[in-house]
Amino acid sequence: MSVFAALNGRARWLLALFVASLALAPVAADRYILSVLILIFYFAYLGQAWNIMMGFAGQLSLGHSLYVGLGAYVAAALWTKFGVGPWAGMFAGMAVAMAFGAAIGWLGFRFGIAGVYFALLTIAFAEFTRIAFDHMDWTGRAGGLFLPVRAEQAHQWWNLRGGPLLFYYLALALMLGALWLCAALRAARIGHYWLAVREDEAAARALGIDVFAVKMKAVLISSAMASVGGTFYAFYYNNLFPAQIFDMSRSIEMILAPIVGGLGTLIGPILGAFILTPLGEGLIAATEEAGLSAPGTKAVFYGLALMAIVWVAPSGVWPWLRRKLGLETP
């Protein structure tokens, strides 16, 4: 556990308590609560993946839905068309997502497309891919790709067929695994180099950092992680539509948790997901209850949440909370 060596005693206890209570939550929680928690873990996981690009390496991607969508479609198509299991499909999806990530990274970093222009490049790739999938017969075009739903009692974890508990623990493992991975990366050479590049590229180069290689590693790792989230999504929801999974609003949704929680921090993406997702879901439930539900409610809420955070705590909730709690974590 050397990656958590930087934590002080209190932070370790809090982390252990947090993990233990989530591991035991299904005992008390009903299906609805579990489904909200799964969503929280999912967004915390994806936020962690995106945070590597923006929070660590300082490269703004607004097209991460591309990698999620590819991870989802590749694994789902392999499963429905060839009967290839999701675990193998996950690696295939990773490879495809990383190939796209490499192409975007190479174009952007080799030719010095930086900042908002790089962000536009990521959006363009995601949009092109969405349009391509809209017209691809093999994956059901815009009409969607559907995974055969089996009885929940099947409990085939190796095929990701099962009830909410299976997906609950899977999502929890993803979130905690990503936290561990990011903590390890952050403490390693590459983590130091990402931050150096984020802070000042010229200074990083003067210090002997291969800036291009360092940025490429960020996009490759981040795209691979995001694609795994996509595979999870496909087998959890059992249906995929290009207009849904590749949409730009998905990319935006993904980046809110780390921004609200604290960009470039390890806990930020998790905290942000725990704040935003329950509020967003609760708001939907409340408006439905009141008969006021309208499309876009969540988007409006997220917009307001973002404005509030930029106003009150521009570096995110976690850096502020960390000070209040007297914790020392990266």
Binding site: H192, A196, E199, D200, A203, A206, L207, G208, I209, D210
Partner: protein
């Protein structure tokens, strides 16, 4: 010879920044490079560091030609640079800045020892270890930049205007530090606007004008040279 630059030509677009520049740096010596703004001092340092690619010429490091090598490979050889303008990482802490400098393959294993050494050399940095580097004073930031470079275990350090924009009292401290490092065996290439002081410090010095070396000699020789006294010392 530790570092030898032979007939180096460098162009920025159409403009020639270095014209047939040759110089030699002996191990454990201090070499000063003197010249007006735009004479090519920074271009020379950045070319040796691998940030600019020369059009012609050789850069020999212990006899091996490294002209055109990328900067990350050059740093791994033990050629460090303290770039102009205190390029520290502002939102990282002092400690994180120093650790980042120690991530080179040649230095990673020795980073504890080097950290102690740097903090002993700059006690003020030790007091501010957990502070964001952007909150340091100008002089402290320059010390951090030097410390971060030393964390990479260089055998040669090229300083580009280390006293630029610092208060006079701090300038003296900075130059004393460089002298200390040199006396401990570090090889130093010094570009400094403070010509008198840098020539006093230097074993050997070169005068650059319009990208060309127009004069060279020991520090004492150049200090006594009428042209240098007129052009750079205002005497």
């Amino acid at each position: 010879m530790m570092l030898k630059v032979e007939t180096l030509d460098l162009f920025h677009g159409d403009a020639q920044a270095l014209d047939q520049v040759s110089l030699a740096v002996e191990a454990h010596s201090v070499v000063a490079i003197v010249g007006a703004n735009g004479a090519g001092k920074t271009s020379l340092i950045r070319t040796v560091a691998g940030i600019h690619k020369p059009a012609r010429g050789r850069i020999l490091w212990h006899g091996q030609d490294i002209a055109g090598w990328p900067s990350h490979k050059v740093c791994e050889l033990g050629i460090g640079q303290v770039a102009e303008g205190r390029q520290i990482f502002p939102t990282l802490t002092v400690r994180e800045n120093l650790e980042t400098g120690a991530m080179l393959k040649r230095a990673k294993a020795k980073r504890r020892v080097n950290l102690e050494r740097v903090l002993a050399l700059f006690p003020k940095l030790a007091q501010r270890e957990r502070q964001a580097a952007g909150t340091l004073s100008g002089g402290e930031q320059q010390m951090l930049a030097i410390g971060r470079c030393l964390m990479g275990e260089p055998s040669l350090v090229m300083f580009d205007e280390p006293s630029l924009g610092l208060a006079p009292a701090v300038v003296g401290e900075m130059l004393r530090t460089i002298r200390t490092l040199a006396s401990e065996g570090l090889t130093v290439v010094l570009v400094e606007q403070n010509v008198a002081v840098s020539l006093k410090l230097a074993d050997r010095a070169y005068v650059l004008e319009n990208g060309r070396i127009v004069l060279e000699g020991t520090g004492a020789e150049l200090l006594a040279d009428d042209r240098v006294r007129q052009a750079y010392l205002g005497l």
